[in-house]
């Protein structure tokens, strides 16, 4: 190419995986602002589910039931509402988070990426992107849900901690399952069916933590213990996924 001189040289080849992951993240965000497939699918999906839940539970408004200690409590209470919010977010995650992997596989850009960057960087970039999208969706959906169902936030710091750690762990599980499912031909059906059983455990933990938002407690341990469970789950999933990602991504 003698005649054309580019502003680069071969010494600039060693990009760290963090820089590569950030470049991939920026690329995905840019593509997402163009197409809005992931955000749109998850947004519409969760808004429709939100309506369905609110409508299905209208009949429960004002109904009292007896709890295990014999007191009359509202049937449609805050912890019930919070649990259903998480079911909703869980389904929303499975409506949209497979897009970024499936898209790369289907359009043939996956091989181009394989040439240019290592598997760890791809995993980090995609995890960052999926977490961002899911956080954005829950940031929009949660206030809407609170308004429509009349859910209280309870203890605010605990509420935010649960939302943040729950969303991050949720996207960690969804990301690795999406990468697995994207390698199969019938991705769509597989993604939900393979991912949801893994999420059931996380959902049990999150619902348990969410209940703590509405229990007045003096000691911080009462709040920290359920949160630790969620954070550990997410950290373990991310660690194992990062270690095993090249087996999923490469041929």
């Amino acid at each position: 190419m003698g005649r054309v001189r580019y502003s680069c040289c071969n010494g600039m080849n060693d990009q760290t995986w963090i820089q590569q992951a950030l470049a991939l993240f920026r690329k995905d965000i840019l593509a997402e602002t163009r197409t809005r497939v992931a955000f749109g699918a998850m947004g519409v999906f969760s808004f429709a589910s939100l309506l369905l839940i609110a409508l299905a539970m209208v009949g429960l408004k004002g109904v009292l039931i007896q709890n295990s200690s014999g007191q009359a409590v509202p049937a449609w209470n805050n912890s019930g509402k919070m649990s259903l919010l998480w079911v909703l977010l869980c389904f929303a995650a499975f409506a949209g988070l497979s897009h970024s992997f499936v898209y790369e596989e289907e359009t043939g850009t996956a091989s181009t990426l394989k040439l240019h960057m290592g598997p760890q960087a791809v995993y980090a970039g995609k995890l960052l992107f999926n977490t961002t999208v899911l956080l954005a969706v829950s940031l929009v959906i949660t206030p809407m849900y609170m308004v429509m169902t009349g859910m209280d936030a309870g203890t605010l710091p605990m509420f935010f901690a649960v939302m943040l750690s729950g969303t991050a762990s949720l996207s960690a599980v969804a990301t690795v399952v999406a990468a697995l499912a994207a390698r199969a031909r019938s991705t769509g059906a597989l993604f939900g069916a393979v991912g949801l059983p893994m999420l059931t455990v996380l959902l049990v933990l999150i619902m348990n933590a969410a209940r703590q938002c509405y229990i007045r407690s003096e000691s911080a341990v009462q709040y920290l213990r359920p949160l630790t469970g969620i954070v550990c789950f997410g950290v373990l999933i991310v660690t194992l996924s990062a270690m095993l990602f090249h087996y999923i991504w490469e041929d």
Partner: protein
Amino acid sequence: MTVPPICLDVRGVGHRFGARLLYRDISFSVGNGDVLAVTGHNGSGKSTLLKIIAGLLQPTEGSVELAMNGEVTPPSRRSNFIGYVSPEMALYQELTAVENIRFFGALRGQTFEKIDLREMLAHVGLKGRGSDRVGDYSSGMKQRLKYLIAIMHNPELLLLDEPGANLDVHGTRIVEQIIHERREAGFLTILATNEPEEELWAGCVIPVATV
């Protein structure tokens, strides 16, 4: 620009998909300024051999070594020295040509000034089309952009799978020009092709056949 001594060593490479053996015992050694053509009928595994050379696929037998200055590059870093044009490697349709260039450049730590971008686009005959989405490009224009991205970091080794695919006369001349310039500069180029005219660009030909 001085080019370091390059040596690509392919030793006894064989590959099988499941129970199907593609080929076995392919060996050759090429270096600076060589242009090599890999030929063979459809399904003979030309593209697979290129993927193995690029380190995207592990051969079931044998090994591939790319040495720079006499030092063997580890397979994980090999792709830093490689440019690859292949029908299987697509670009991002919803991004513009410039955004594609910037993204793939960023993965290698390259940043570009506007003036560089304009020159690069003009070089492959895409002058003034930089801010169009790749999805709106014709297949020949996509192929030209792939060339641009494959050579923008001056790779020591350029792999071309079906080099003339979708290109018009002008596009083919650009490719010919690129190969010629690389030969003069002392870089290594390998093509996988079935076209007799494209075989003529190469200094030597390796036929790949199913056993």
